[in-house]
């Protein structure tokens, strides 16, 4: 087991350990203990590099997962800290900032605020727009944002395109009179 994991489990009550391969582990830490755990990993266990912070939206489970990827260059080991936030319907989950540990964390936090709506109060410039400009819809990376629908409504693709499903089209051609006689819908109608 790679360095630091025992500590995480014992001191910070981490759970759901997945050892993906040698030198890469995923582990869940409670939201309240996450920053302490990360600080511990950085200061004591040598995980001195923050590879990235990102999120994954588990809308079905009502969870917003934050992933902190920490790298220990000396041991060639990586730990991903998962933090499961309660997902809110209209964005606005909140998490403590870690920009005091790594200066560039503020950019990821700014990005998460913009793209996922996860707030990091006290992170500098977290409310500034980072990638998007003049965005007035829900944070686009949230799972319930339908990018295709948005694109079709906003950017109106070139029209005049139709396509045919081979099975339907063939049935229409081979059985031109009543190609749909077998379909479920019609039979249900009859049944009712």
């Amino acid at each position: 087991m790679q360095k630091g994991i025992n500590n995480l489990i014992e001191k910070f009550g981490a759970s759901d350990l997945v050892e993906r391969r040698s030198g890469l582990s995923f582990i869940t830490v409670d939201q309240t203990k996450a920053v302490a755990a990360i600080t511990h990993l950085k200061d004591i266990d040598g995980y001195t590099v923050l590879s990235f912070i990102t999120a994954a939206d588990w809308i079905e489970d009502g969870k917003m997962q934050l992933t902190y990827m920490l790298n220990n260059p000396a041991e060639v080991a990586e730990i991903a800290i998962r933090v499961m936030l309660e997902r809110k319907k209209e964005a606005g989950e909140s998490m403590e900032t870690i920009h005091h540990l790594w200066p560039n964390a503020k950019k990821w936090q700014q990005e998460l605020k913009e793209m996922y709506g996860v707030d990091f109060p006290t992170s500098p410039g977290v409310n500034d727009s980072f990638i998007l400009e003049g965005w007035d819809d829900m944070p686009p990376n949230r799972r319930d944002f339908d990018t295709k629908q948005y694109a079709e409504d906003t950017f109106f693709p070139r029209g005049g395109r139709v396509t045919h499903d081979p099975a339907t089209y063939m049935r229409e051609q081979l059985d031109p009179k009543d190609p749909q006689y077998y379909t479920k819908k019609k039979k249900k109608d009859i049944n009712s």
Binding site: R20, S51, T67, W102, P103, N104, L132, N141
Partner: protein, 389 residues
């Protein structure tokens, strides 16, 4: 370099410069997005006093396409054409990390021949970037000659890519399960001929750039990254190696068959633009050597792809992984989450430019000359599409 610049502008107690634009002592200067001295479509909001930068802020998002969102609605194989466009200059690491993440979570073992071919395409991609990037560093100081020569050779490498993969810039060569073709007939011979030309080129740019007094005077001491910053700010690849920290995924976490190759990445301690270009220059030579080794060691033909399930409805069980490789700019990784469906739940690209171009660049540009911004950016090899994705 050594003058005392602390007097101007004054700083408040937090160490922030006090900038009053109304005083007319300062000027707001936008470098980009329409600007020849910027690495791609991004911009720097500079506050300058005379020729000196007192504050810098990186603005990105001009190339944002929402890749991570788009990948969430694509089948695993459909992720490939989309994700290779994450970084235009060097698309192959994108192909590699996405394919490998899919293979790892889907439990596919690729044939040995495909591993060698993947390495070949990754190293060729690195070579074509460095052929532009090494002389491009001098190009930012308006010495465009090496850049012109380098670009010609890059075109030759792109020709090889075209032969091997069928694409000039977007290769679509590495796909889940393996690669999309064996070496064409006579490829090795033609490649070795081109490498000979590159050997000549390496000597020529050494004379033109690294033996050049003006280049040396401008690049030395510029954009200095101390060793402590490497971890703190997240510096990767050649930039970290120029500051005396060994960072090369090929060496530290060998993937594919890199452990069978004989190579030693160059490490130096100066940490300035000159050191970074020297490290890149050595990388260029090393890459040429590695391609020779790969061509020498790789088997003559064989299986190119392991059989995957039907790609049209390939479902991968729930899991997450982080796959990384060494791009010409440094560690290039993909955080990939699957949820048991036929599409990824989350794909997050981690490119070195993200850290290089944001906090680090803002820091490095303070007190630099306007004329040096391009040089510092190029030396960090910032690539905007991988910042905003």
């Amino acid at each position: 370099m050594n003058e005392d610049r602390s007097l101007y502008p004054e700083h408040d107690e937090n160490g922030k410069p006090i900038i009053d634009l109304e005083s007319h002592k300062f000027l707001k200067l936008w470098q980009g997005p329409q600007h020849p001295g910027i690495t791609g479509n991004m911009s720097l909001e500079l506050t300058v006093s005379g020729d000196e930068i007192v504050e810098s802020k990186t603005h990105v998002g001009y190339l944002h396409r929402g890749f991570e969102k788009l990948l969430e609605r694509r089948l695993f194989v459909q992720c490939m054409p989309t994700s290779i466009r994450l970084c235009v200059a060097e698309p192959d690491p994108n192909e590699y990390i996405v394919s490998t993440a899919v293979e790892e979570l889907g439990g596919i073992e690729i044939p040995d021949n495909a591993k060698w071919l993947r390495m070949l395409s990754l190293e060729m991609a690195r070579l074509q970037v460095l052929l532009r990037g090494v002389p491009g560093q001098a190009g930012t100081f308006a010495l465009g000659l090496g850049y012109q020569w380098g670009n010609y050779l890059r075109d030759l490498i792109l020709d090889s890519f075209e032969e091997l993969t069928g694409g000039r810039v977007y290769h679509m060569y590495i796909i889940p399960g393996g690669v999309r073709g064996n070496l064409p007939e006579g490829f090795k011979g033609r490649m070795l001929e081109k490498l000979k030309l590159i050997d000549e080129f390496v000597v020529k740019i050494d004379k033109l750039i690294f033996q050049n007094v003006v280049f040396e005077s401008r690049a030395k001491g510029l954009g200095h990254i101390p060793k402590e910053w490497v971890d703190k700010y997240g510096v990767y690849g050649p930039a970290a190696r120029a500051s005396g920290v060994m960072r090369d995924v090929r060496k530290t976490n060998p993937y594919l068959n890199y452990d069978q190759l004989d190579f030693e990445p160059h490490v130096t301690t100066e940490g300035d633009v000159y050191a970074r270009s020297v490290v890149r220059y050595n990388d260029l030579q090393m890459t040429v050597d590695m391609i020779r080794q790969i061509l020498d060691k790789m088997p003559d033909g064989g299986d190119i792809r392991a059989q995957t399930p039907n790609v049209l409805h390939w479902k991968i069980p729930k899991g997450e992984t982080y796959v990384k490789c060494e791009s010409s700019r440094g560690e290039y990784g993909m955080y990939f989450v699957t949820d048991g469906s036929d599409k990824p739940r989350r794909a997050h690209l981690k490119g070195p430019s993200y850290t290089h171009a944001n906090a680090l660049l803002d820091k490095l540009l303070i007190n630099a000359n306007i004329a040096d911004t391009a040089a510092i950016m190029v030396s960090l090899a910032t690539c905007p599409p991988e910042i905003e994705r």
